[in-house]
């Protein structure tokens, strides 16, 4: 029977990644894009309209200035620092818009949207982190960059964010990329762009100059949209706009230059982005040129203005509309995969109504091709045939019908007012944009159902393996089932997905309180305030307020942002960080000293002596010190506000050190100590005549993992490991059943994920520690470090749970029960010792077999399969929900990480290594 159980459990575990993969392929279908560059094609109706060539372009040069995270109110609002741009709006030389950016609001997909005119799929989020992946470059796609480059004498120059260089490899004549590695850099990233501007404005060989400023985004991430550096930065950007605009006014070769200023996305009140809050999806967009006065005569030229809604200033357009508008204004074919619509205000550059129809017809014909490719079964009638549009039509039918109407209007007598034709073409284009942008029609539903079914199958198999445990229903087992069921139900509610941390905090608090009550039922603890379970609850309460997370209360006060730990009080933070490193170093020293004793000994089992301990401490000191110095050096660059009050000379010294080398030294030191201790333990277990050890190796590996995880954690979160360590200590004082240990592991793994500041939003992913020790770019390594830095807490508790389960490294007193006195006054003591002896034997027995570990994994598999199954079922059922791309699909991406990397890689993979090492 155990063999069948193990087999079923293996199958159930293998099913989880398969289910996630099947679901992902149905949920994020690979959108086929049309390769090759667009060319002007025959539109039909040429003779009727008297067209011989495309409408005259109005500009021959483009300056495209992207300011990262330039939210609409930063330019148009009352409190904006961009006075010059506002004066241009008032004078009519600039035309302002709010360009709606779709979620995910991170740079790479936004650049894709602006350059191709398409709506990037959610897969781009993953590709954004795996930037070197060639399938995500745009070098083979049709963009306005490619079109401008293909023009006669077309040359492009690019300065700023190296995302562009990655997306458009070897596109640019001259380039200088900056990477946004340290968000504490507010000035260098921008100066690196600005220094090229004066020279480039004198050059006349380029027809497009692209600039991408990162400073404003960095300020947002650091201090939020109302930070003290925000207005000065806006003024700086405004100065650059003035410099360029004045050059356009004065330099002859620039006289026909179109100058576009835009943000790629906005930011929320916390200064982050990635989701779909109004602030994040509302970047500013301004087209500037002295020639624009021609079309702004009758427009609203007031500035600054009040927003119509929260961040909606002026007219709201789609970000993808930039591509076809640039195509019309600069005179090149609209990129093939474009779903944008030519901005109507610019039509009035052309006095002839037929030119306007021409421009729009190009747009409509190009979009019709995409529509046809997406609805291959839709019948398209000849333009002249009559058609009746009905209310309840499918998307394909509706678009065919709208096209039919536009076609009829095109074919009707020539003297009809041009505006009529323009209106019908717009009706088609806008409907096509709306329908094609909502990806709802693209799901592969059978695959979604199959993926969900596989997860449920995995859940059922796990339930079968757990059958023998159902014989006795315990309160703990009931709590475990209740947690799983509640979690599954909550996955269907968007608010609870966004605020998932509340669920885990709430459940964990109740569980700790239950532990207090249940242990009080057996024996009253006289100092009940210091009962281990109450201490656990207390520590949990501090930890949960360490970082504010979720959507609803993002930016609310928390311990990390309190003045207790930053600014002049940084010394408090660094003392706590130092204490954390000390604690781990002392633990490591014990392991090393034991190994020295082992290498030293002549015969038999020996205890380490003081000399060994001294040498052990000396041996781990360099590792601990290097790890600490690395953190300090890293933080001095990444978050200077956290190192104020630290000795200047020391900061200057760490500033000279190479971060990559330091990180490599730390990782190397961990690997070296690990192999040294492992070899000693191996020798020790070989030399043992009979019986088994205490599982010290597992404890040593855990402490080494801890120092690695601390290295992968932001400095302001490091003191949390002290709290975690204390929680583990109090847990060992409690008398927990194996199921209770598993449940505690689950609750603390999940809670610690949110405690470290993560949430179910893409914007909360922390990239800063994923390049530690890596100089080049290596997708695999960066991915692993990225996962470990964001899941450090869960990894820590998952492994700690294994040590709790097997009672590894617990001191064994080898109490001989039969020799004990039976006199009355020692009866109680005798009972106590008997109990201890029983527990120790239980632990030893547990850790030397695989049964307890299998039950542990079975329960965790039950939760993972149930959890990912619920997420997939929710995504399937709610696939037309308003929040599907903003709440549920990010949650699915997180569920993939939990299911594959965390459960499969850490809980099962790393966990089995620990369990095996513990049985030596």
């Amino acid at each position: 029977m155990p063999r069948v159980q193990s087999f079923l459990l293996v199958v159930a575990n293998l099913l989880i990644p398969v289910a996630l993969l099947v679901f992902a392929t149905g949920f994020f279908p690979y959108k086929p894009f049309m390769p090759g560059l667009a060319t002007y094609e025959k539109l039909g109706w040429e003779e009727k309209m008297g067209w011989s060539k495309a409408p005259e372009p109005k500009f021959d040069r483009l300056v495209f200035m992207v300011v990262d995270a330039l939210r609409s109110d930063f330019v148009f609002g009352e409190e904006s620092g961009m006075d010059f741009v506002q004066s241009l709006i008032r004078s009519g030389s600039a035309i302002p818009f709010t360009a709606h950016a779709t979620s995910p609001t991170i740079t790479m997909p936004r650049v894709k949207a602006m350059t191709t005119g398409s709506i990037p799929s959610f897969l781009d989020v993953i590709l954004n982190f795996a930037e070197s992946d060639t399938s995500s470059t745009l070098s083979t796609q049709d963009t306005w960059l490619a079109q401008l480059k293909a023009m006669e004498g077309g040359k492009l120059v690019m300065y700023g964010d190296d995302t562009w260089l990655k997306l458009f490899p070897s596109f640019f004549e001259r380039e200088d990329g900056t990477s946004s590695f340290f968000v504490s850099d507010f000035t260098e990233v921008d100066n690196n762009v600005t220094r090229h501007v004066p020279a480039e404005l004198l050059n006349s060989d380029w027809n497009a100059m692209i600039m991408h400023y990162l400073g404003l985004d960095h300020i947002g991430h650091k201090t939020g949209p109302k930070g003290p550096n925000m207005i000065p930065k806006q003024k700086e950007m405004d100065g650059i706009v003035r410099q360029i605009f004045e050059a356009i006014e004065n330099e002859d070769h620039l006289s026909n230059t179109l100058f576009v200023l835009c943000g790629d996305h906005g930011m929320n009140e916390g200064g982050n982005h990635g989701g779909s809050a109004p602030g994040e999806t509302s970047p500013a967009l301004v087209f500037m040129s002295p020639k624009i006065k021609k079309i702004t005569e009758f427009l609203n030229r007031e500035s600054p203005v009040e927003p119509l809604q929260e961040f909606d200033y002026y007219k709201k357009i789609e970000q993808s509309d930039i591509a076809p508008t640039l195509a019309g204004l600069l005179g090149f074919p609209i990129p093939r995969n474009n779903l944008g619509v030519f901005i109507e205000d610019f039509l009035y550059f052309w006095d002839d109504g037929y030119d306007r129809i021409h421009l729009l017809l190009q747009n409509a014909m190009q979009m019709r091709k995409i529509v046809k490719a997406n609805f291959p079964n839709q019948k398209w009638l000849h333009e002249t045939e009559e058609v009746l549009c009905k209310e309840d039509m499918s998307s394909g039918e509706e678009l065919a019908c709208r096209w039919q109407k536009a076609g009829q209007m095109m074919s009707t007598f020539a003297s009809v007012h041009p505006q009529m034709r323009v209106d019908y073409l717009y009706a088609f284009c806008r409907a096509a944009q709306e329908i094609m942008s909502s990806t709802a029609s693209n799901y592969d539903v059978p695959r979604l159902v199959l993926g969900t079914f596989l997860a449920i199958l995995s859940l059922s198999l796990t339930v079968i393996t757990l059958f023998p445990k159902f014989k006795s229903i315990t309160a703990t087992g009931f709590s475990y089932a209740l947690t799983l069921v509640l979690y599954g139900v909550l996955m269907f509610a968007s608010s609870y997905v966004e605020e998932e941390h509340h669920f885990w905090y709430w459940t964990t608090s109740a569980w700790f309180f239950y532990l207090f009550i249940s242990s009080s039922r057996e024996k009253w603890f006289s100092k009940f305030i210091f009962h281990p379970a109450i201490m656990l609850l207390f520590l949990h309460r501090i930890a949960r307020r360490w970082n504010q997370t979720g959507q609803k209360y993002a930016g609310a006060p928390d311990i990390v942002h309190s003045p207790m730990l930053r600014g002049p009080n940084s010394i408090v933070l660094w003392s706590l960080i130092g204490a954390t490193y000390m604690d781990i170093a002392i633990r490591l020293a014990k392991h090393v000293s034991r190994s020295i004793a082992e290498y030293d000994k002549k015969t038999g089992e020996v205890e380490d002596n003081d000399a060994n301990r001294f040498i052990g401490t000396l041996a781990v000191l360099p590792l601990g010190a290097t790890a600490f110095v690395f953190k300090l050096a890293f933080t001095a660059q990444d978050a200077p506000e956290l190192v104020q009050g630290i000795n200047e000379g020391m900061l200057a010294w760490v500033g000279q050190l190479s971060l990559v080398d330091l990180a490599r030294m730390v990782f190397g030191g961990i690997a070296l100590s690990g192999s040294w201790i492992a070899f000693a333990e191996w020798k020790r277990s070989r030399g043992r005549k009979e019986g088994k050890g205490n599982g010290d190796l597992a404890v040593a590996l855990f402490d080494l993992t801890a120092i690695f995880l601390v290295t992968q954690t932001k400095s302001q979160n490091i003191p949390l490991y002290l709290i975690f360590r204390m929680q583990i200590f109090f847990l060992t004082l409690l008398d927990l059943s194996p199921t209770a240990i598993t449940l505690t592991t689950l609750l603390l793994s999940q809670s610690s994920f949110f405690i470290l500041g993560n949430s179910n939003a893409i914007s909360s992913i922390d990239l800063s520690n994923s390049y530690n020790g890596i100089s080049g770019y290596n997708v695999g390594l960066v991915g692993i470090l990225l996962f470990l830095s964001n899941w450090a807490g869960p990894v820590y508790f998952s492994l700690a749970g294994i040590l709790l389960l097997g009672q590894h490294g617990k001191l064994r007193r080898n109490i001989n029960v039969s020799e004990m006195d039976s006199r009355d006054w020692v009866a109680q003591e005798r009972q106590h010792l008997e109990h201890l002896a029983k527990k120790e034997d239980e632990g030893a027995e547990r850790r030397n077999g695989w049964g307890a570990w299998r039950d542990h994994i079975a329960l965790l598999t039950l939760f993972t399969a149930g959890g990912v199954g619920a997420v997939m079922a929710a995504c399937t059922a709610l696939r037309t929900h308003l929040f599907i791309w903003t709440v549920f699909s990010p949650k699915f991406l997180y569920a993939m990480a939990w299911g594959v990397a965390f459960h499969f890689g850490v809980s099962v993979g790393l966990g089995s290594v620990f369990w095996w090492a513990g049985s030596w």
Binding site: H502, W506, A510, F513, S520, F538, R541, G550, P557
Partner: protein, 207 residues
């Protein structure tokens, strides 16, 4: 939550028995009316609790106190009165009993009720406040709200318990460890605490 009677063998004290409501008509009726009154108090006050929590909770605290005192005085036997109640049913003493009824009611019920009010509210509020904070109530802001929440819980859950069980340490350990037999008073306390915990469920909602 399962409430089992799990009496350890080495207990010096007699195991607690379920508290029965007093055997008179007024008590029997009021036991059923009381929860309805308490619930209607909260239902009636709900809009103002949402609009202005501190003042509304303060105001309803007074009414809740009156209701709870009435409840314990009318329906519940005061602490240590189990024998007295039994003696009361002696035949032949009817007249004296009637004559001293008001006095006895005052001395035996109303005063213990007010005594339990002070005894329950004063020490219970800080402990409940600490418990609420441990479960996640804010510590730097909203202390009045948390304090008033603790006061309400103490009136709802602790006052009847003090009235019937007194302040005996051993008994209170049993209460914390959920070792008492289920009766309306003890069940009410468990209900109040579970309810307070479940009350956190809507926090993440954004409507």
């Amino acid at each position: 939550m399962s409430v089992q009677i799990n009496t350890p063998g080495s207990k010096p004290k007699a195991p607690a028995t379920p508290i029965e409501t007093s055997h008179n008509d007024a008590a029997k009726t009021f036991t059923h009316i009381h929860p309805i009154l308490v619930l209607s108090l909260y239902a009636y006050k709900f809009p103002s609790i949402v609009a202005d929590p501190v003042n509304a909770l303060m105001e309803s605290l007074v009414w809740l106190g009156i209701l709870q005192i009435a409840y314990v005085a009318v329906c519940l036997p005061p602490t240590g009165s189990a024998n007295v109640v039994a003696e009361k049913r002696k035949p032949g003493e009817r007249k004296r009993a009637v004559a001293g009824k008001l006095e006895r009611e005052l001395g035996g019920k109303i005063i213990p009720a007010f005594l339990s009010l002070t005894l329950s509210v004063l020490p219970a509020i800080p402990i409940l406040f600490a418990t609420l904070v441990l479960f996640g109530a804010p510590i730097t802001t909203h202390y009045f709200e948390t304090l008033l929440c603790a006061a309400h819980i103490s009136l709802l859950a602790i006052l009847p318990l003090v009235y019937v069980h007194g302040v005996d340490g051993e008994r209170w350990r049993e209460i914390v460890a959920l070792l008492l037999p289920v009766d309306s008073v003890f069940g009410g306390m468990v209900g109040a605490f579970v309810g307070a915990w479940l009350g956190a469920v809507p926090i993440p909602l954004d409507w």
